[in-house]
Amino acid sequence: MKNRLKVLRAERDWTQARLADELEVSRQTVNAIETGKYDPSLPLAFRIAGLFGQSIEEIFHSDGER
C-alpha cells in the first residue's frame, strides 16, 4: 500500500518525531508507514486522516492505483 504521509508531513514542516507525538505512536512506526514497510491499522489510519483533515482514500491507496 502506498501513501502520501511523507508529503503531508513535509507540507506542515513536521519531523517524524512531531508526527509520532501527534498520533501517539513511535517514530519508527511513522517511518515504517512512510517507507511502505508497514500498513497501519484501521484505527491509526483514521487518526492520520483526521489529523490531516482528509479521507483515508486521499492518503492511502493500493499499489495498483495512482
Partner: protein, 147 residues
Amino acid sequence: MEEAHTESSWRSYLNHCRSMTERDRRNARIANWVLAAWALAFLSATYALRRDLIDGGALAVTAVVVPTALGIFAALAFGRFLRQADELHRKIQLQALALGFGAGFVTTFTVSLLEAAGWVVIDTGDVFLVMAIFYLFGMWLGARRYA
C-alpha cells in the same frame, strides 16, 4: 533530517528500542523490573532449597509461593505492555514471540526423539534458553525489517 532510515544490524535494534513511546517505555520498565525480581527470587529459592538451607515448613512454602507470584505478575505486566504497545512494536513483539515459541516447540519434540534414540539428554532449562535466543533474534529481525 532523520527520515528514510535504512539502518541494519544492531543499530536498527537500538533505534527500535529508543523510538518507543513514553507509555511503552514505562510499561516495559515495569515488566523488566518484575521479571528481574522474579529471576532473583527464583535463583534464591532454588539455591536455598537445593542446599537444604530451608527445611520444610512455612519458609519452604514461601520459597515456592514468592517466585510463583512474581512470575504471574511478570506475565501480567508483559501482557499489559503488549496490549498498550505501539502497534508496530506489538507486531514485532508478537512475531518474535511466535519465533521463540516455534523454536521451543520444535526443540522440545526433536529432543524427545533424540532422547528416545538415546543420543542426547538435555535439561528442560536448555529448551527455554533456545526459546529466549530465538525470541531475541526475532526482535532483532523485526527491528531491522521495519527500520
